[in-house]
């Protein structure tokens, strides 16, 4: 098993853990962390799978950089919304959808 494949497999496991976290956890901060885990997993797959014969490929690394910027922006938005919800309701969990 090559190092790149190992990275990719670890990435898939991280991604699955992250998705499970976002779906199952109630606490908003932990959900946001889980989303970051999920993103990192996808980045690891992108970098790991693209290594051919041990030579790193620069294109996916540029993509991952772009992806990290997107993930930081999304995390910032999520944190801002979570803080707002905490300020309004005093809780860090999503309330039940009242109208459903």
């Amino acid at each position: 098993m090559t190092g790149g494949l190992l990275f990719a497999l670890a990435g898939v496991v991280l991604f699955a853990l992250g998705v499970a976290g976002v779906v199952l956890i109630d606490n908003l901060l932990r959900r946001i962390l889980a989303f970051n885990l999920m993103g990192s997993g996808a980045f690891l797959v992108l970098v790991g799978l693209a290594q051919r014969d041990g030579v790193p490929d620069p294109v996916p690394q540029a993509m991952v950089l772009t992806g990290i910027v997107v993930a930081v922006a999304a995390t910032a938005l999520a944190l801002a919304l979570a803080r707002k919800l905490h300020a309004l309701t005093g809780r860090l969990e999503l309330p039940e959808d009242a109208d459903d």
Partner: protein, 473 residues
Amino acid sequence: MIDPLVWLILLPLCWATLAFVLGPGRGAWTAIGGLAAQLWLAFVLADRVGAGGKALHAVGGWGAPLGIDLAADGLSTAMLLLTQCVALPLAIYARSYFKADDPAGTWFWPLTGLLIAGLNALFVSADLFNIYVTLELAGLAAVALVAAGGGAHQVAAALRYLFATLVGSGAYLLGVALIYGAYGTVSIATLLPLVTTDAPRLVWIAGILMVAGLMLKTALFPFHFWLPPAHGGAPAPVSALLSALVVKASFYLILRLWLGPLQALLPVFAWGMALLGAAAIFWGSWRAIRAVKLKRLVAYSTVAQLGYLFLIFPLLTCPGALQAGVMQAFAHGLAKAGMFAAAGVLIKATGQDSVAGLAGAVERLPVTLLAFGLSGVTLMGLPPSSGFLAKWQIIEAALAQGYWIIAVVALAGGLLAAVYLFRVLRQAFLLAPTPQPAAVVPRALEWGAFALAAASVLLGLRGVELMRLVGVT
């Protein structure tokens, strides 16, 4: 020489920044001016694509694989047209909708500019990774728009929407990573021959991940849980933008993958998609029939109408099916924008968001009720509306291939739509138990809603040109 492909992305970014600096008053006029120019550019592009075929642009002179390519074929151009056609009347509507001190109105203009830039960029992106970035750009702007009102319900709905959209684009990104690992490219045009000749199992998984993520973002049943609170709770112009445009963007992407790089793999799942589409039609209509609040009713109607878009997947081998799907996207986009706009007027005038509270509305707001009714004509699929044209084509394509079950579902969906729409209209035509003083509503609101609704009906008369445009590859 103006290249519409580039300016359709740059212009909204420019006026979004300007609107942020200028504040809501003058920012609104900048946005309206920018959107009018974009509408003109979209028509210029449609003219060029219709006459000369696919339009291409290499950003900064760096072509693929090093740089980013922009490309617009008939399908992209049609989606660009829809976006600008819906956004301009909604901007005029929104200028009168938000009061001067409304926080949602302050953030509406810059965020809408970012949203439109993201959507336009998505429609002209020619590689899978660039599509991921634009998908996130549009998604984050849409989430921020839902939260801009600042109420606890709106923030909670925005967070729920944010997590759904992040998981959706995360799954899409993992798919892109697997595809890059297998082929070493993300260009849609380069991938097509590669996938057709040799598709390892990895690419199958990638395709399933990408489409599943996009289904979550399109709110296809059973992934629709985030849509009613987000679309039902936001201010009316935001609901209209989200229902009319944002969910269509991820549908467009599914279509793009289905007809493009993944066309050798995905048709296995065509009936699964149609089944979920049919389930969405029945479940969404049922919830709309039972909804207590007016905007929830309209939001559940969106869940149902999105189902039609997925009915076309088993039919895509037949020439008219793609045109039927795009026509349905147009019909629903224009009609739903008009309907949310009309619902916004009704809520403003009656001061509450319940179907029961509409009694007597017809005396006070005849133009708005007419707009709601005209949108309803399109959603039910009555002639001569564009909704009729879309459903007619779906049924024709289905019968041509002997899939009568799809035709039955399409017809039943129209009847169910009539049930929940007439619930609203019947209530509005009742006499109010105690006549209330009429709240004054700006005329731009009533006529904005009417313009969108009328466009959805009148498009049925000019549908042939649109269908010809969609056929250009």
